[in-house]
Amino acid sequence: MGAVDTSTPPPAAPTSKVRAGGRRLQPNEIRGLIAMAIVVVIALAVLPAILSVYWVTVLTAVAYISVTALGLNLLMGRVGLVSLGQIAVLAMGAWIFSKLSFSTGLPYPIVLILTGLITMVLGTLVGLPALRLSGLYLALITLMLAGAITIALRTMQFPNGGPGFLGNDPNSSAAVRRPSIAMSDPAFFRYTVIVCLIMFLIALWHVRGKAGHAWAAIRQSEPAALAAGVNITLYKLWAFALASFMTGVAGGLMASDVGRLYAISFPTDKSIVLLAVVLMGGIYSLWGALIAGAFYSLLPALLNDWGLPADLLTILFGVGIIQVLLTAPGGLAQQFPRDMKNLGKLIMRLFRRSSAPPDDGRAPA
């Protein structure tokens, strides 16, 4: 080994040529933004016009369940934390929204934001002591709390303008209100889509920014994250808070969508189903949340339409969990573009082969 020569300076690196200007958008990011814009335009302009009211309400559910799934997607994909109780949090959000909605006369957007904030605080309170536990114990605590909430709701039921703190009058059939600008089902669908878009943009802003970098560091190596000055507990809590906020808002939208809420709509196994669809949709891309919402709310409606039992889906989702954990942790959101690309390549190859003349001397068939 020769002596290390430190007398000559290192050669100038060619990175200087990209220094001018800020960071340019990567091609896949541009594609993603365009895709998002297309989806939103179709949802707002096209779908309500061509679909029946029933399907519009189904898609409304897809929208707010996607937001719930987005919260779980961020928790699992970004920070590696598993919550087995997000549907219970959704129920909590729905409860809080109903309560505020009936007890106060505040404008709809304010109630929605307040619901998100209160749910966020409650979710963070749960997260705070639980963060010291390892992943498995944290997941189990969320499962247990979800079970507890489900049981409590069975007794408490949902506020519907009745008396007292619990606000439930079993004889009343008052519906949770909708925003005055979006009373009809198609109008409320559009309203929901806009709120969902805002939630996704908030998620995107986080993932692309400081929080996303911190989360990526935490997920790869906690010592490396600490060495970069990341306050790990804070950022894990922040993920919890964000997921809870979004799920709370989703709960509010759900409350307005269905109008009358019942505890039996939020059984414990639905939280497991949500976990399954979020995994299957893919936790490493925000699109996975949208796919998850479609699995959770659209597929059962389709199966129903075709006369098939929805239980088949439960079985499918169970298989899906195992399959994703075994083989494709990126889920569909990662698999699908790859499959499409492979399919595209295959098609191109076939196309070229059939149109090019044979070159081995044989006469064409």
Binding site: L133, L136, Y137, L145, A148, A152, V273, I321
Partner: protein, 295 residues
């Protein structure tokens, strides 16, 4: 506040229930120690076994004893099948991943049960439930006795099994260090299979007993696993005797809350609340982060 008289029947129910919680808790702890898998499908497996037994008796006229045996065996076989199919490919992953995978099994079984039997109310009454005796003023049926007896008995038997038999020692070795155990010539696959099958048998038995003590409903039975998990967690997924104690405690608290009208409707929250408090208390000293079970 209800009187001592009013509590008595609930003490009996609580002891029986607690016994079965401990029974399934022990099954979970043994499996976890041997394989690192916390089987959250435990309740679903037992539930399905119970449903199969019900169907055999009521739809196909099979004799009860055989049907119950089928239920218990079903638990063992399905759990073993899962373990053999998905245990090895997931063996290197963290405990959280392995536990979430079992949730996949739980969903498959839940979906199957819902599809085949739907949500109609059913009941399955074991012959032992129809016979009983009096302790003071309280009627105790034999199913409850079995519940309590099995809880204590299985705990004792399993503890002895783990300590004194070759298979049991193999399981304990696996719990300590899988790789080294393999190099020591312990037949890892066989020991794991025994752990899967054994815990499955216990889940089948628990399912049968729960269907009597609680009711024959797929979702309820499936998520009773949470109470068993609670007992196992309080034992830090390690000690069988603590699992027994915790299971009994949870069973008693849940049952004894019944006559207290102000909280009666919330009594099913007891296992969750107890386990959450216990976990948070245990984590205070950082003991969960360093305990083997928390890997």
């Amino acid at each position: 506040m209800p009187s001592w008289q009013d509590f008595q029947p609930f003490i009996v129910t609580g002891l029986a229930l607690g016994g079965v919680f401990s029974l399934s808790g022990v099954g979970m702890v043994v499996l976890y120690r041997a394989t690192g898998v916390l089987n959250l499908a435990y309740g679903a497996v037992g539930a399905m076994g119970a449903f199969i037994a019900w169907a055999l008796i009521n739809d196909h006229g099979w004799p009860e004893g055989v049907a119950y045996l089928v239920c218990i065996l079903f638990g063992g076989v399905v759990t073993l099948a899962y373990g053999m199919a998905f245990g090895p490919p997931l063996a290197g992953r963290e405990p959280l991943v392995k536990a979430v995978a079992t949730l996949g099994l739980a969903l498959i079984l839940l979906g199957a049960m819902s599809w085949i039997w739907s949500d109609k109310a059913r009941s399955m009454v074991l012959p032992t439930t129809k016979e009983g005796f009096y302790v003071g003023d309280v009627l105790v049926n034999y199913t409850q006795v079995i519940g309590l007896a099995l809880g204590i008995g299985v705990t004792a038997f399993t503890a002895a099994f783990l300590r004194y038999t070759k298979l049991g020692t193999g399981m304990r070795a696996l719990a300590d260090d899988r790789e080294i155990t393999a190099t020591l010539g312990v037949p890892v696959r066989r020991v794991e299979a025994a752990a899967w099958f054994g815990s499955g048998i216990l889940s089948g038995a628990a399912g049968l007993l729960f269907s009597n003590l609680v009711g024959l409903d797929a979702a309820t039975l499936t998520f009773l696993v949470i109470s068993s998990v609670a007992a196992a967690l309080i034992a830090r997924l390690q000690s069988l005797w603590v699992t027994l104690a915790a299971g009994m405690f949870i069973g008693l608290v849940t049952a004894m809350a019944t006559p207290i009208l102000s909280i009666s409707q919330y009594r099913d929250m007891a296992p969750f609340v107890i386990a959450t408090i216990a976990l948070l208390f245990l984590s205070r000293h950082g003991s969960l982060a360093t305990a083997k079970g928390a890997r």
